[in-house]
Amino acid sequence: MRNGFRIFLGSLWLGAALVSQAAAAETAPHARLELIPERKQLAAGEFRVAVRFQIEKGWHLYWKNPGDSGLAPSFEWDLPRGVRLREILWPYPEKIEDASGTTYGYRDEAVLIALFEAAPKLSEAAITVKAKWIACEKTCVPEKGTARAVLSVKAPAAPPEALFLEAEKRIPYRNPYWLLSALIDDRTLSLVLYSPEGAAVPPGLRFFPEDPELLDPGAAQTVTGSKGSVELAVPLSAAAKIPQRLKGAVVADAAWNEWDARRALEIDTPLRLNPKKGT
């Protein structure tokens, strides 16, 4: 009897779990996924599609390096023959801190830009993405979504989606005027930026590394120098395995050049070791 009761309770519990799972699938996720092509008219060569997450107030999603906790969104693309995904450009994140540590993520909205290449003579391209992500507020919820976009040669010519102008401002870019050097000296990363013709260094510099193990996201970053060159120094994390190249973004509170409003430089540079001290 006792056992029977237990089994009954167990199946009730299982039933409740199944029902709550079904309910969870029906409730709106905390982020909404959309694919928005820059132009609906398809032409051979490169084209761009925005992957937009609209995030519920108070919640956040993560950058490709999530920091101390969390997880980056992942994508599974279903592409027609003749279409190739070249690269996904991620907007730079913001630091999100809580009692447990520092993470890199997005609030309100994140617009990634996916670069594709279309083969010549393609008349239509239907692109589907299945994405999985973790949305966090005080708690974290794994979510998923599917979005679709169709480009066609028959679509009327139209100006590009205005969304891209804003989205581009948050994508780290290669700035040929600022020279870079990255060095590890005594378990400290030193990233030096040399400004073109002594131009002023924009304020508020911070570095976001792509390698999740290289730095502690909460570690203090020291910025010294202001005109001509600037050094950003950060101690390596205890778990750091030193990579061949330093990748990530340096973000400022203002633009790097007068003629360009973008605030984040893409960093992709060989990482040298101080030969005298080693590491």
Binding site: P66, S69, L71, S100
Partner: protein, 201 residues
């Protein structure tokens, strides 16, 4: 990070406990602590002196933790290594009112329903031990060798995520660290980046 958790520990220490102690550091003696289990019984790290000890930070409501319990992966590790004499301490540092801070009877139910095979499940609602060890995520694992030194800190495995399908391709760092330390060889990967939910301090 180490400094920060040290200061956090200091602050907590001045409030909550008398003896001064330093934060956990790889290669050094793992700091002593005492916590109670859901039945109210106290457990101290020093009780397991001379044995290999695993500290596993958990939160039953965190999806990253659920991956390892719903699949039986965590319980499998607990069973395998406690049978080899390892003391496995599962610790929850969720503050009152935060996710994963469960009443005692729910802890007991969680242990029973999931077949949790740890030596003890310990509650750290003040977050004192979590901060002392610098636990950042759930799960976050630490291995203490027989000599009392901390020999591993980091992730349970190499594939961050919440999908049990990921387990097949993952390299289990804790298994590797335990196998090495149990056979008296140095741990080849002593520190990895833990992944999961933030600890709800």
């Amino acid at each position: 990070m180490r400094l920060r958790s040290f200061f956090a520990a200091l602050v907590c220490c001045s409030l909550a406990c008398a003896p001064a102690f330093a934060a956990a550091e790889l290669g050094k003696t793992a700091p002593e602590f005492t916590l109670t289990d859901p039945s109210g019984q106290a457990h101290s790290l020093s009780e397991y002196k001379g044995r290999t000890v695993v500290l596993e930070w958990t939160n039953p409501e965190c999806p990253f933790v659920r991956k390892h319990y719903a699949s039986g992966n965590m319980q499998g590790l607990q069973k395998t290594y406690t049978e080899k004499g390892v003391a496995w301490l599962t610790i929850n540092s969720s503050a009152p009112g935060k996710q994963g801070n469960l009443p005692a009877e729910e802890w007991l139910r969680w242990i029973e329903e999931n077949g949790v095979a740890s030596t003890a499940v310990l509650l750290d609602p003040e977050g004192r031990v979590g901060r002392l060890y610098g636990a950042k995520t759930t799960p976050h694992l630490f291995v203490i060798a027989k000599d009392g030194n901390l020999v591993y800190q980091g992730a349970i495995d190499s594939v961050p995520g919440t999908d049990p399908a990921e387990l097949a391709e993952a390299k289990n760092y804790v298994r590797a660290a335990l196998d090495e330390t149990l056979s008296e060889t140095p741990v080849s990967e002593p520190s990895t980046r833990s992944y999961g939910c933030s600890v709800k301090y």
